[in-house]
């Protein structure tokens, strides 16, 4: 019932937003949607572990990611509002922007809760559509190029996922079942045909890499996060990766109960290591802050995949890492709007002396970068530490050494840029603007949440995480 209300009201709001030509009306509609989203999230929390129509279920991981999405969407909406009230912003593009944002949030929420391979796939498709609208916001040549690349690669990737689903259905026919819901798949995992299952896993994994940002299809996401307005980029970098993760993770849960498990783990391990290598190679020569943040997302998703592939304590750490990464990365993207207003450039070489111009913001930014580099007190440090511990426990010394090496390179690359932005004097004249400290508060809150749940994870969080990994063979 609540799901239908959510669905229909969202569609109605999207249509209203597209045709709204008054900024007050747009604000009101966005407030209505925020309330709806919060209400839906509360409803999901109250009805934990329940199924709806056999296609959706409020399971532990879905609800957890929905809560993360709902928390982050509030600052993103606020900063989108600030972003769109600049004097040069047009009311028509604001209408499309808000509509796409609402569509994106709804599609992501429903894809988290989907309990059916095909339903998840459909909502992932819708995220492509809405993300394309957000990337094309500026309507110039560069934005068009970014949109084209994103749409084309995502189109190929969703075809790949669909091929994977077809192979999965072939595999399922051996078990004599026809229901492609995850529950049914896990229940009949033992009887699934291994050959088709492996093939299905390769295609589904490769397809979702476009969303999660792993090798080989990560390139689309990088351009997308670079060209989308920074508040939308916060969504693309912080939450959309979770959509890709959940697509992979659900199928991984099926595979974990079958005979193809070892093989698929090795596949994931190799992909994650290649991704880390690629991320570290690109990070060293980057000049653009947004692209640097995007590549850092690629790196963190590789670490999450390593956690899943290694197993043991790595499972819990991987999901913790994913959640904290969402908070930190979206906070950093939100802060970027202030930096851009000051420097009017994305290039690191054009920046400098940020501390002098915006002291409070600079401190928040520094804290955010500490978080993303996984230096204590960052919560990411804790999860990375446990993933490393899982590697040692599993006697994967070579993987440990390679990961440590790549991470060192990445930390060096990020730290070099951060020091230049915050402390070194700028190489050119910067016209001083006043920043209100309030603009940085939302990011500080997001970083503090990430630090808190890393250092002192609440009991309920651990229960939910343990429940979401309960179907994996420990």
């Amino acid at each position: 019932m609540m799901l239908s209300i959510y669905f229909i009201t969202t569609l109605f709001l999207v249509i209203c937003l597209v045709f709204s030509r008054n900024s007050k009306v747009q604000e009101a509609l966005m407030v209505v949607f925020t309330m709806l989203q919060v209400r839906f999230c509360v409803y999901a929390c109250c009805h934990l572990r329940e199924d709806i129509f056999n296609y959706f279920s409020f399971d532990a991981l879905g609800v957890l990611l929905l809560v993360v999405l709902t928390i982050i969407c509030i600052p993103v909406f606020i900063h989108s509002h600030i972003y769109l009230t600049r004097p040069q912003a047009k009311i028509e593009s604001a209408a499309v922007y808000y509509a796409a944002l609402v569509l994106l949030v709804a599609a992501m929420s429903l894809s988290f809760l989907a309990n059916h391979v095909a339903v998840n796939w459909i909502f992932t498709e819708i995220t492509t559509l809405s993300a394309a609208l957000l990337i094309y916001h500026h309507r110039n040549k560069l934005a068009l190029e970014g949109t084209w690349k994103y749409v084309f690669i995502c189109a190929i990737s969703i075809s790949f996922v669909f091929i994977g689903i077809l192979f999965l259905s072939l595999s399922l026919m051996h078990a004599g079942a026809h229901d492609l819901s995850y529950k049914c798949l896990i229940a009949s995992a033992q009887q699934l045909d291994t050959f088709w299952l492996k093939l299905a896993f390769i295609f589904i994994f490769t397809g979702y890499t476009a969303k999660i940002g792993l090798f080989p299809m990560f390139t689309a996401g990088i351009d997308a996060k670079d060209k989308a307005p920074a508040p939308a980029g916060a969504f693309l970098a912080g939450i959309l990766v979770n959509v890709g993760f959940i697509g992979i993770f659900r199928v991984f849960g099926v595979v974990a109960n079958s005979e193809a498990f070892e093989w698929c783990r090795h596949f994931m391990l190799i992909t994650a290591l290649i991704t880390l290598f690629v991320a570290s190679a690109y990070m060293v020569k980057l000049h653009n802050v947004k692209r640097m943040l995007a590549y850092s997302g690629v790196e963190h998703m590789a670490i999450v995949m390593l956690g899943l592939a290694i197993g043991g304590v790595g499972y819990v750490a991987a999901i913790m890492h994913l959640i904290m990464h969402s908070f930190v990365k979206s906070g950093l993207f939100l802060h970027f709007t202030q930096m851009y207003r000051l420097y009017q450039s994305k290039l690191i070489d054009d920046m400098g002396g940020y501390f002098k111009h915006n002291p409070f913001g600079a401190m928040v930014l520094l804290f955010g970068f500490f978080c993303i580099m996984a230096i204590p007190p960052s919560g990411l440090f804790v999860s990375e530490f446990f993933i490393f511990k899982a590697m040692i426990d599993a006697r994967q010394i070579l993987v440990f050494a390679l990961t440590a090496f790549f991470l060192t390179v990445i930390i060096w690359a990020i730290a070099r840029s951060v020091m230049q932005i915050i402390f070194l004097p700028a190489k050119r004249e910067i016209s001083d603007i006043k920043f209100s400290p309030w603009e940085s508060v939302s990011q500080l809150i997001l970083f503090l949440i990430a630090a808190y749940i890393g250092i002192n994870p609440p009991e309920i969080l651990l229960t939910l995480i343990n429940e979401s990994i309960s179907m994996l063979a420990l």
């Binding site: 190029e145 189109a155 075809s159």
Partner: protein, 209 residues
Amino acid sequence: MKEILLIIFLVTLFYMSIANRMRGYIQVLSIQGVLMFLVAFFQLHEVSAFNLFWILLETIIFKSVAVPYFLSTIIKHNKITRESEPFLPHFVSLIITTAIVVGTIILASMIKDEHLDKIFFVAAVSAIFFGLYFISSRRKLLSHVMGYVVIENGVFILSLAVGNEMPMLVNLGVLLDIFASVLILGIFVNKIGDVFKDADVDSLTLLKD
């Protein structure tokens, strides 16, 4: 009958690998649409009449008329040159296509599965890999779109192979077709052609690290 149609489909892939004109590609895509229509008609004998009607309607209207029509309008509207400008000579292209088809036949012969019609697997997987090869070996963006349409046709054939047991998957394939084509062609018709005058991959190099 199905076998003959799918073999003709494979032959169209060979033709596409050596065709020289953009218009030739469009004709091939249109023929492929008609082939899809016939294969779906002969294959899906266990799905409900209404569902079958909807699938057949999509293949004949969308795949064999609408998409080719859109593509040729784009060529006319943007005055795209007729030559396809491949990176590789036709001879190499033909060899690669043969290798793809032979490879999938070998792969199919290794599968022992009574649930799957091998010829569907060969046609579908060949089309998917041929599409990927086609995308990476042509310079024009419009030929990338065509390569993507070939991939979609391959996916559609694969979904027909399991269509009798799970008709829902065929419907999803149709949905994917419409969604992705509209999105991609929509961007193309409206924007890319106007902004990038001679739309090929060399003009899309502004975004880089």
